[in-house]
């Protein structure tokens, strides 16, 4: 017995090494499972507070460009709103209440961001207290950004589009052909459009937008532009390269969209046994 104890004592540093490494690996695995716990990351309350006070300083440097972008978005929205304002001399009838409100929008500020790894995440300065929920879509005036992964009381983490496991259901704006946008981990300005069959005719410059088929994004949010079309190694699908419309290196204010009918859609898919990849 004593010998065993002595032996264990002699290899104690190796045992500690094994313990710490397995802890680290457990962290990695846990962090990468889609439903993983989000305690030990930047949406943690303490870390979030530090990051947002840091952002208080650094956000001043990008204020002018942020203002410009906001003004641009505002003018665009005003233009759209103009179409919906009712002339004084007309009567309106609500046709169906279920058609009226499917999406709800919120805004937030990016306080932490990365774009050079293979799995990039963002942190936002709003959390469950402000109505942010896991699974909401995130975009800004340039285009799609990602999907909320986890929320704490005051902060939330977002899986960026620049994450090699994140698929975004999209379509070609002009022809309604659909596919999935996925980042290949090479260049933060480019992504691939997958699952577009070979018979489809595309040309460089075609606009790609979100399809609205999965419950994360509404239809028609900009994703990018086609730059290259190749035949690809896969026999069934084209190899399409997009130039992303979002500049991930300078994100500050973002919008979040919640699909109010998501639970209903999900339970319908569940009941009918369809698996939707997001």
């Amino acid at each position: 017995m004593q010998r065993i104890l002595l032996f264990l004592y002699r290899i104690r540093s190796f045992l500690l090494f094994v313990l710490l490494e397995s802890l680290a690996i457990w962290f990695i695995v846990n962090n990468n499972s889609p439903q993983g716990a989000v305690f030990f990351n930047s949406s943690n309350n303490f870390i979030g507070t530090i990051l947002s006070s840091k952002d208080n300083f650094t956000s001043y440097f990008s204020l002018s460009s942020a203002n410009e972008a906001l003004v641009e978005k505002n003018t665009e929205l005003l233009k759209k709103l103009d179409r919906f304002t009712q002339p004084k001399d007309s009567v309106y009838l609500v046709l169906d209440s279920s058609l009226s409100l499917q999406h709800e929008f919120r805004s937030a500020l990016v306080i932490n961001n990365s774009l050079h790894f293979n799995q990039n995440y963002l942190t936002l300065n709003k959390g469950s207290r402000h109505g942010i929920k896991a699974g909401m879509g995130v975009f800004n005036e340039q285009g799609v950004i990602g999907r909320v992964k986890g929320v704490s009381k005051n902060f939330s983490t977002v899986i960026s589009l620049l994450h090699t496991d994140n698929l975004i259901s999209s379509k070609v704006k002009s022809s309604e052909v659909f596919g999935s946008t996925k980042w290949d981990g090479r260049n933060p300005r480019q992504a691939k459009l997958l699952y577009v069959p070979r018979h489809v005719i595309l040309s460089p410059g075609d606009t790609i937008v979100t399809s609205g088929y999965n419950a994360v994004f509404p239809e028609g949010i900009l994703v990018g532009r086609v730059t290259e079309i190749g035949q690809g190694a896969d026999t069934n699908y084209l190899d399409i390269t997009l130039e992303l419309s979002t500049d991930f290196s300078r994100l500050n204010y973002v919008y979040l969209v919640e699909n109010l009918l998501k639970t209903e859609m999900d339970s319908l898919y569940d009941a009918s046994g369809i698996i939707i990849d997001e």
């Binding site: 500690l16 680290a24 962090n31 293979n118």
Partner: protein, 173 residues
Amino acid sequence: MSNKYLFNTLTGFFVYLIVQVFLLKNLVLFGTAFCFLHVVFILLLPIETKTTPAMLIAFSLGLGVDIFYDTLGMHTAALVLVAALRSNWIKVLTPRGGYDEDLIPSVLNMGVGWWLSYSLPLLLLYHFLFFYIDNLGTDLYLPVLFKTISSTLFTFLMGMIVQVLFYKRKRGI
């Protein structure tokens, strides 16, 4: 000496952590060369630091960096490995006449040649492990290699500069 040692280690820990997550996180050259200066802190622990405390320090430092990078576990795993190999590697590299007591294995104390053969393999190992884990499940082997080599060189250079600027030479050799 013990108190001073503890104080130095603690301040070093927080200074390196803060510099890493607030300044160097945004410093990525050409999208490939990262600067993971916190590895240099582990390399610069005093020579007689045992493997056990070194690993514990590495674990907490790695976890701290990971939380801010949102790469939970990746820095930790690589840094613990470096800390585990450190003291054996130092033993292998013992110069004739052995080490002085109470010495920090820096460029100024040990000379450029020794520092090169001490730090370069460990830094290379760290960066390779980190980018390998980051790219698990993809087939980006060449970019991993490229990132590893460029980041190792960048971190090595930054480590040299930091030592020359902020570390003192131990008097009289």
